[in-house]
């Protein structure tokens, strides 16, 4: 077998893109964030059979920011992410990643390779593969066909995966098939996959759904620590959670931005209370959970 391994090694050498196939070398230019701005969403419109899911939506996100996106069910948060990640084609508008990448003319894979990672509202993992493989697949590597064919896990990568496993608390389950994880565990795994991919911009849709308060807190910590180097956009309905991480909060309503500001501003905003938070604004809940958090 070692002969084969040798050939594979040789082939791997041959197919190192930067050397032999210069014309195949990634042409991808760096994300231009000179204006401190990483995501520009302007005038986005999208309708499904006459129903306007996004309605002249504008959103700007600073580089390194942690932005919370809230809004009523059906406000268009997930749809917005769908448009940013190339899953859904919008009717009109522009979406730029940095100043130089027009996301609307790229497909999902390209967008992902630019460094935009996404966690789905309904956890989606590769059910037939182990937790470990799930993470390996998400690693930040060259995702072309040939490089993938000849690539092998480097020790650094393995360490990275181990690290992530530890963070998401699935170290014990590393060889378990992802399909056999419980709902909450899948949530974690999906976050882990994001971590492994090491993206520039993270779009996270309802990360703490189905998590216990303590886990929620842990997630909050994790996301806060990610911000700065990376930009994070989080969608969540758990107000306590949002409060614990948010600097700026954007509220969507019926496909466009209803309000934007700090958590306090938002919480006292009449419109937001009316369409989203509800009269007592979950005061009591928030209070109680906060107590729990302290206790834990």
């Amino acid at each position: 077998m070692s002969a084969i391994e040798n050939t594979v090694e040789n082939l791997r050498e041959t197919f190192r893109r930067d050397q032999v196939w210069p014309f195949l070398a990634p042409t991808q230019t760096k994300v231009n964030v000179d204006n401190q701005m990483i995501l520009y969403v302007e005038g986005l419109n999208l309708s499904f059979d006459g129903f306007k899911a996004l309605n002249n939506l504008n959103l700007y996100v600073n580089d390194g920011e942690l932005r919370c996106l809230i809004g009523a069910n059906g406000a268009g948060k997930t749809t917005l992410m769908d448009v940013i990640t190339g899953k859904t084609q919008c009717d009109s508008g522009t979406v730029f990643f940095g100043q130089n990448h027009n996301l609307l003319n790229k497909d999902e894979a390209e967008i992902a390779q630019l460094g935009i990672g996404r966690k789905f509202q309904k956890p989606t993992v590769f059910e037939e593969q182990t937790v470990f493989d799930n993470l390996e697949l998400s690693l930040k590597t060259d995702k072309g066909v040939l490089p993938t064919l000849f690539s092998r896990l480097t020790p650094t990568q393995i360490d990275r995966i181990d690290e992530v496993l530890k963070i998401i608390g699935l170290a014990k389950h590393r060889f378990m098939l992802a399909g056999a994880l419980s709902h909450g565990q899948k949530q974690w795994l999906e976050i882990g996959m994001l971590l492994a991919a090491d993206p520039r911009l993270l779009l996270i849709d309802e990360p703490v759904a189905g998590m216990t308060p303590q886990e929620t807190e842990k997630t909050a910590e994790l996301l806060t620590s990610l911000a700065g180097e990376r930009t994070v956009i989080v969608v969540e309905h758990d107000m306590e959670f949002v409060r614990s991480i948010a600097r700026t909060v954007t509220v969507l309503h019926q496909g466009s931005v209803l309000a934007e500001g700090t958590m306090d501003q938002i919480q006292s905003n009449k419109d937001v209370i009316e369409v989203y938070l509800g009269e007592e604004a979950g005061e009591s809940e928030v209070g109680e959970d906060a107590v729990e958090g302290e206790n834990a």
Binding site: K122, L181, H183, G210, T212, H237, A281, E285, D289
Partner: protein, 235 residues
């Protein structure tokens, strides 16, 4: 109402529920809590009859459910709101709701032809979305649909698996109100799996804590104290 006796359950080779015992008091709201993966969902599915159990007994009002198929249990009055909603994605909202009408007509005397107006009063969004595919709804809308759909059955027992996942705060509250209202006005027995303590405290009357496939603590909700929380819910 529902009592569960020494239930064992396995997925393939791995055992999830271990001689689990559980009693649900009629007319109460029982909150089942526990960390991720302890088997809450599994337990609920077993009650609904969607997973076969290996041994043990599940009874409702003294009648053994074990041998009953899931559809029979629906006729006996169990309504189920699954985790992850499980809306019929290609059916319209209306059709999603209509599915349960035959059961309803067996269980009630009111006109079986139509979806009860009550549902739309509880969840007005559904009325607006009546002709859209269930799968197109946003997560929160789907959750409301799932609860509404279960209520069409006019159940005696309503099983809710994390009903607030992904729901906007005011609706969370509304769902809580709905549960309380149904419980109070119609004597609906509710089994609720919930992670958010606030909600659990507000709505629940009883709690059951689970760990590793067993019920390890059960009591009135008032008695859910920090030590229990620390022991069974903290990570």
């Amino acid at each position: 109402m529902i009592s569960i006796n020494k239930v064992d359950q396995l997925y393939g080779g791995t055992q999830i529920l271990w001689e689990l015992d559980l009693d649900i008091v009629p007319g109460s709201i029982t909150c089942i809590m526990g960390r991720n993966g302890v088997g809450k969902t599994t337990l609920l599915k077993a009650i609904m009859g969607l997973l076969p159990i290996k041994s043990g007994e599940i009874t409702m009002d003294g009648q053994a459910l074990n041998k009953q198929s899931a559809e029979k249990r629906a006729y006996s009055g169990i309504g189920y709101v699954p985790q992850g909603r499980d809306i019929f994605p290609m059916l319209t909202v209306e059709e999603n709701l209509r599915i349960g009408l035959p059961v309803r007509s067996k269980r009630t005397t009111d006109s079986p032809k139509d979806i009860p107006e009550k549902i739309f009063e509880l969840f007005p969004v559904l009325k607006d979305m009546l002709h859209r595919r269930g799968g197109d709804l946003s997560g929160g809308q789907q959750q409301q649909l799932a609860i509404g759909r279960a209520l069409v059955l006019e159940p005696k027992v309503l099983i809710l698996d994390e009903p607030n996942e992904g729901i906007q705060p005011n609706i969370v509250k509304q769902i809580g109100d709905v549960i309380l209202k149904l419980n109070k006005e119609e004597g609906l027995t509710v089994i609720l799996v919930e992670q958010k303590l606030g909600f659990a405290r507000r709505v629940g009357k009883e709690f059951r804590l689970m760990e590793k496939g067993r019920v390890v603590a059960s009591d009135k909700m008032e008695n859910l104290d920090d030590s229990l929380i620390k022991q069974y819910l903290a990570v």
